[in-house]
């Protein structure tokens, strides 16, 4: 049974680098040894006050679904644009007995996912998993897992551009007033132009949504394929934009509707192919370039989902095991 997530702050002495004075003076005064970084840093790197500040912003974000709450984002040992928003949100809510999962482009073994997971393993010692069902906190970039999320789970999204209308109106003060005045005509104007030129809405990722019939929101650059998973979800969805210093949230069971016209309703892209490894036809697929003569292979983007289907398939009563199993093995090597 999933334990209820306890979120008590850890009591590790704060030895943050930012307490003024030149770096050398700090290093000398704390004779930081060359052992692993874990000993000298706070639990999950950020000091407790910063975490409290971020949690306060998150509470406001949950209270106003879809509204971008400014927060004093800090520099992280990761470059901006590589997940600092998501990391600060995860760092401020993670507790000792959480089970943490990190995916990028849908899979746990993508380089940046590996890097972020290692960061949290060293700085929190928290249990990590590659299985969606086991995780209490899932930090993601560009995908929502195929496996349906359960009550109590928290999705943390890494967000590059939090403002859904940024490409239509570069000025931040102007977009903030459009939100305040609930004036989203500009959004429909864009969709109108899209349909006029291309006979359909051609936004393929970061497809804007209306949250709780009030705030226009960028779901982060997930494919439109994943948008429906945000609507009336059992889980809590938290969005962190580090460089732009904004957090926003979708509480459980909130109405999330993708912007569309009644006679040009939101549609999800489909594929003719199926996963070469687990045969799935309803999951988002990655295209593998095999040669320069156009040879392509399609595999599930969500590696956990793919392997879970393989495990189910390899039970006797399921479909032909050999081919699936061998394909699965090949997938392991690739991972």
């Amino acid at each position: 049974m999933r334990q209820q997530r306890k979120n008590k702050p850890a009591e590790i002495p704060t030895a943050s680098l930012e307490e003024g004075g030149s770096i050398d003076r700090i290093l000398k005064s704390q004779n930081l040894s060359a052992k692993g970084p874990g000993e000298e840093y706070n639990f999950a790197y950020l000091d407790e006050d910063t975490k409290r500040e971020i949690r306060r912003a998150l509470l406001k974000a949950v209270a106003i679904p879809g509204y971008q709450v400014p927060f004093a984002g800090r520099e992280m040992p990761m470059p901006y644009g590589w997940g600092t928003g998501g990391i600060q949100v995860s760092a401020s809510i993670i507790g000792k007995d959480d089970v943490f999962k990190v995916i990028d482009q849908g899979s746990d073994d993508t380089t940046n996912a590996v890097s972020i997971r290692a960061f949290f393993e060293t700085l929190t010692g928290v249990a990590t998993t590659t299985e969606t069902a086991e995780a209490t906190i899932i930090q993601t970039r560009h995908r929502i897992p195929e496996t349906p999320l359960a009550e109590g789970q928290i999705m943390v999204y890494q967000v590059p551009l939090p403002e859904a209308m940024r490409q239509l109106e570069p000025s931040e003060p102007e977009t903030r007033s459009l939100h305040a005045l609930f004036e989203y005509g500009l959004m429909y104007l864009k969709l109108y132009e899209d349909i006029t030129k291309h006979k359909e809405i051609t936004i393929s990722y970061d497809y804007p949504v209306l949250v709780a019939d009030r705030y226009a929101m960028s779901p982060s650059p997930i494919p439109r394929f994943d948008n429906p998973k945000l609507n009336d979800s059992k889980a809590l969805h938290l969005f962190g934009a580090g460089r732009e210093r904004r957090v926003y949230a979708i509480p459980p069971h909130t109405r999330v509707k993708s912007f569309d016209f009644n006679d040009h309703p939101f549609r999800v892209q489909g594929w003719e192919n199926s996963c070469a490894i687990c045969g799935a036809t309803d999951s988002y697929l990655d295209e593998i370039v095999q040669d320069d003569r156009g040879g392509r292979m399609f595999v599930c983007s969500d590696s956990d989902h793919c392997q879970r289907r393989l495990r189910l398939a390899s039970q006797p009563e399921a479909g032909p095991p050999e081919r699936l199993a061998s394909l699965g093995q090949e997938a392991q090597d690739r991972g």
């Binding site: 570069p170 593998i288 320069d292």
Partner: protein, 380 residues
């Protein structure tokens, strides 16, 4: 009796003697050697070569040492040195396809022929200060470039250099989804900023040369602004490559090109969203960046700004400075920029005197008339 201040020359000599002392610094510290700069400060050297527009690692190292680490000064030194060199011809176009890449990544596909080769990169490192590098620390074990994803195609050789890799851009181009680029005109010499004055509008080859020599910080900011809405570039990295390429030269006597050596370059090809327009079909459009040495951030920024500057050609709305060739091309060169910005240090007391007396006269008039004119609400 007032004696005008003289001794300018003396002051300059003394100042430069002081500069030499501070450049050398504490005599108890061993002097830094060019080899150390070239090997341990390679990225600095590479930036000086790229923006100095001269492939000469040793000279770039010297310039960096002489400039006390001030790279803009070093770039200036290299540019000046370059101007003194006689030009005896143009090399053959380098074939980046045959680059023996030490690093080669693509953001567009999970696996690509020849695999994604991480190579020597800061990517995915945790930006935590490494105590091990403190004085007396031992150097970390050498790492060979491990491909993160094994795929068909060439395996990295013993010296860590990959064989010929099938370019991702080439694959997309063959599928027809990525725009093809016209081949460079066979005859005639390529446009060369150092031999012809920069004029706007400038054809793309000229723009690319200007961007290759432009200040990295400037291009970085422009690229960033274009991504954040002040422009409409949505770039995907089709391929980013780093490694040596052969340099061919067609000596008049021989009549055929011979390889005169290898140079290290960084090449970035982006595929950008384009929903069709200005008579062109929906497709991915190209952005291109190429620099001497290892200048990844510069190559990426260059590719984004190159694509942004093509907004007019592709009928896109102009929404920011990154799309304005005049703004980008006239302000990108940091040798020009640093020169003009710091020229205000030069004596200007003649002009200042003129301005001073003008202001005094205007203030007298201003105060004499009893302050600013009241609102004219008095009747006719």
């Amino acid at each position: 009796m007032y004696v005008a201040v003289k001794g300018g020359q003396k002051a300059i000599t003394e100042a430069h003697k002081l500069l030499e002392e501070t450049r050398r610094g504490d005599l108890s510290v061993p002097e830094i050697s060019l080899a150390q700069i070239q090997n341990q400060m390679g990225l600095a050297v590479d930036r000086v070569q790229a923006e100095g527009s001269l492939y000469a690692p040793k000279l770039a190292a010297l310039a960096t040492k002489q400039a006390k680490g001030d790279l803009v000064e070093a770039i200036f030194l290299l540019r000046a040195a370059r101007a003194s060199l006689k030009r005896f011809g143009y090399s053959e176009p380098i074939e980046t396809a045959s680059m023996r890449a030490r690093r080669r990544v693509s953001g567009t596909f999970k696996d690509i022929p020849g695999g994604q080769i991480l190579g020597p990169t800061f990517d995915y490192t945790h930006r935590l200060l490494k105590r091990s590098l403190m004085d007396g620390g031992q150097a970390p074990p050498g790492g060979a470039p491990i491909p993160i994803a094994k795929g068909p195609g060439a395996q990295p050789g013993a010296d860590g250099l990959g064989g010929e890799l099938l370019g991702v851009a080439t694959i997309l181009e063959r599928e027809g989804i990525l725009e093809t680029v016209g081949t460079a005109p066979e005859d005639g010499e390529p446009f060369d900023l150092t031999r012809q004055p920069l004029e706007v509008p400038l054809a793309r080859p000229g723009r690319l040369q200007a961007l290759a020599r432009a200040d990295e910080g400037f291009l970085l900011a422009l690229a960033y602004s274009s991504q954040r809405g002040f422009g409409s570039v949505h770039p995907f990295v089709a391929e980013l490559k780093l490694g040596p390429v052969e340099l061919g030269f067609r000596a008049p006597e021989l009549g055929m090109p011979i390889t005169v050596g290898e140079i290290e370059v960084t090449e970035c090809q982006t595929a950008n969203q384009f929903k069709g327009g200005a008579g062109k079909p929906p497709m991915f459009t190209r952005g291109y960046g190429l620099t001497f040495g290892h200048n990844e951030r510069k190559a990426l920024s260059m590719a984004i700004v190159d694509r942004a500057l093509r907004a007019g050609e592709l009928g896109e709305a102009i929404k920011g400075p990154a799309q304005n060739p005049e703004f980008v091309l006239y302000h990108g060169d940091n040798v020009e920029a640093s020169g003009f910005v710091s020229h205000i240090k030069l004596p200007h007391y003649v002009d200042f005197q003129a301005e001073l007396s003008m202001l005094r006269a205007m203030r007298k008039k201003f105060n004499g008339s009893g302050g600013p004119p009241e609102p004219d609400d008095k009747d006719e």
